[in-house]
Symmetry: C2
Subunit: 374 residues, 2 copies
């Protein structure tokens, strides 16, 4: 059989404040199209379907529609798990009914021990879980770390292996040695909560979710699919897409996906960036990382650039900016308010008003609260 | 065939701050038991399954579990709609899969025109909707009121009537003439948005949701089931339960439900209320409306009463309270902060600190915001 391995859809995620729902819808449509042209027998989604435990109603409606399309309209089996960004309790809604049409969405640890058999392969769908879930499931108080829990979980799976079949693990964790980007929410503390890669050697393939780069881990048979879209500037040069695996060879083949809106770097002078002869050659719908070659102070720079480029992610100076006052050594550790204030001053040449500063503090606090809640 | 008619479960609702989830779980279990002993062929739930558009994860998990029990474990068909408290977009999750086992949950106007046929009856499941949905569906800009929209909706349904069958409408609206309690969220403004009762005469039975008393409307074949639990002190003397309807006679028979914790009135002196010989005869798990016969000021009264009665909904004075200072005519219109401050002073004999007052204002604002959002 053949299956497609994707993960980290993060439906509802925003990129520097820009709504990505249209881009995400487009990338799911491209995955469906690829699944059909490549005639795969199942789509594996290794966690983080949503970006947050309570996604917006628009995010819910979009994903619902696409899952209906895949599983009910195209009759394609789905093998999926919840990730650390999903609320396992909310995502579980409807799952006992989904099974009837081979849409297996596992959100609880215990479900990992009911392998899904398809053709020559047993799929073990292990959702993201905390060690406490393993302590309760195995009634074993010694399972205090994710390493210990995972060792026990995998031993349990091995006892269920059918020797006449291949075994594929679908899971969502930080595997030791994995390379991080800026868009994942860490689920490990000081490396303590990473899963040792050699634990995974018993499987013929491990379809991973959590890290957003497809190259995050190349060890044995374990692969991160990476996210289908670039979720941070640190991923600007990443190639995004999905793996397709034929269970006979178990050799993953990468299929790149073209995004609705690209993320690109644009290096030029301010004057050139504003010239129609220059920008008319570009796809202005792109998410831009702009690098200005000028050093001069440019009043109202952001607004002038946004008139031409609606989706600017960042503006940097290639050669720094003319100092309007003696440049001081910047302290390494500033609080977020100071960082933003300084940035605002450098970009606009104005200082934040008291009201703007209050809004800033409020916004930062709310962002911190959200991050904690997730 | 026989069906059970219930509505307004409002899973996740709190009663004067007390969590009702255990009571709600218990009442659903009693409904399931009744459905089985009465051998009904389907359970009709006429909207407001949840209390809010984003219910807590505990509420979601409890309702999910009970729906699995009803539909998958007991193989009982469910005919349900979304109400004004539900988020139709969120509640729609999984619905195309639910149909496979006769769990029909309609959340969109267009679904009302696909009658569900069971034995001798056509069920039209019409979710709560706004006139804009009818304008879009019928492409008719004149449908600006719920009356006009409902007239058109029902005409459309009549065109789908199979003359060899009976017709049952399941819906969630304020029907003109209905009697309100304190626990419903009004969806009508000045009566403008109520649905004229005679529009419903074309049906053999109309299973209504929205009003919380089973006696809210007795007109023709339309009935509110009422909520399965008392959700406000104004419902203290209501009888709660469900209707069971045999489609041959279409005569609804009411079946009362015993709640996990009752709501009762307790009239006595403070001294008596604190006497073990008195309170040991009572079920202290009851939600109490306490009426004190004393007139004296009682310091720390609420805390002393709560030591004995953990679930107090309100404390009133039968004969008023001794004035500690000259009683003044109280203005009819006070703002909510003033009302609570005065209440706090009367009950505790203390005045709110500045911090407590700030908390109060914050809490009231958040409650108002929540209400608006719902």
């Amino acid at each position: 059989m053949r299956f497609l391995h994707t993960a980290d859809w993060h439906i509802g995620k925003k990129l520097h404040g820009y709504d990505l729902l249209a881009d995400q819808k487009d990338s799911i449509e491209k995955i469906i199209h690829l699944a059909q042209t490549e005639a795969v027998d199942a789509i594996v989604i290794a966690g983080d379907l949503y970006d947050r435990s309570v996604p917006s109603v628009e995010a819910v409606e979009m994903l619902n529609q696409k899952l209906i399309e895949i599983n009910l309209e195209k009759a394609l089996p789905i093998l999926a798990i919840s990730g650390n960004h999903d609320s396992s309790g909310r995502l579980a809604t409807g799952t006992p009914w989904f099974k009837q049409t081979n849409f297996h969405l596992h959100t609880q640890l215990k479900e990992a021990f009911v392998p899904i058999e398809m053709a020559d392969t047993q799929f073990f769908l292990l959702p993201y879980f905390e060690p406490i879930a393993a302590r309760l499931y195995f009634e074993d108080e010694t399972l205090t770390t994710i390493q210990a829990a995972m060792k026990r979980v995998i031993a349990e799976m091995v006892s269920l292996f059918d020797e006449t079949k291949k075994q594929v693990l679908v899971t969502h964790f930080f595997i030791a040695g994995g390379l991080r980007t800026d868009s994942e929410t860490p689920i490990e503390v000081g490396g303590l909560n990473s899963v040792p890669a050699d634990l995974l050697d018993v499987f013929d393939y491990v379809a991973l979710g959590h890290l957003h780069s497809k190259n995050a881990l190349k060890k044995g048979k374990a692969r991160y699919s990476g996210s289908p879209l670039k979720f941070s500037l640190s991923e600007i040069n990443d190639e995004k897409g999905v793996w397709i695996i034929d269970t006979e060879q178990m050799q993953p083949v990468f299929h790149p996906l073209t995004p609705l809106r690209e993320m690109e770097k644009l290096e030029a002078s301010f004057e050139k960036l504003r010239q129609p002869t220059f920008y008319q050659t570009l796809n202005r719908e792109t998410f831009w990382q702009i690098v200005l070659t000028d050093r001069a102070v440019i009043p109202n720079m952001m607004n002038q650039l946004r008139e031409v480029y609606p989706y600017i992610l960042s503006v940097e100076r290639l050669n720094g900016r003319e100092a309007s006052q003696p440049q001081q050594e910047r302290p390494r550790e500033q609080n977020p308010q100071q960082v933003v204030s300084t940035f605002f001053e450098e970009i606009t040449g104005e200082t934040l008003t008291e009201k703007q500063f209050a809004w800033l503090s409020e916004g930062l606090q709310s962002a911190l609260d959200t991050e904690k809640r997730d």
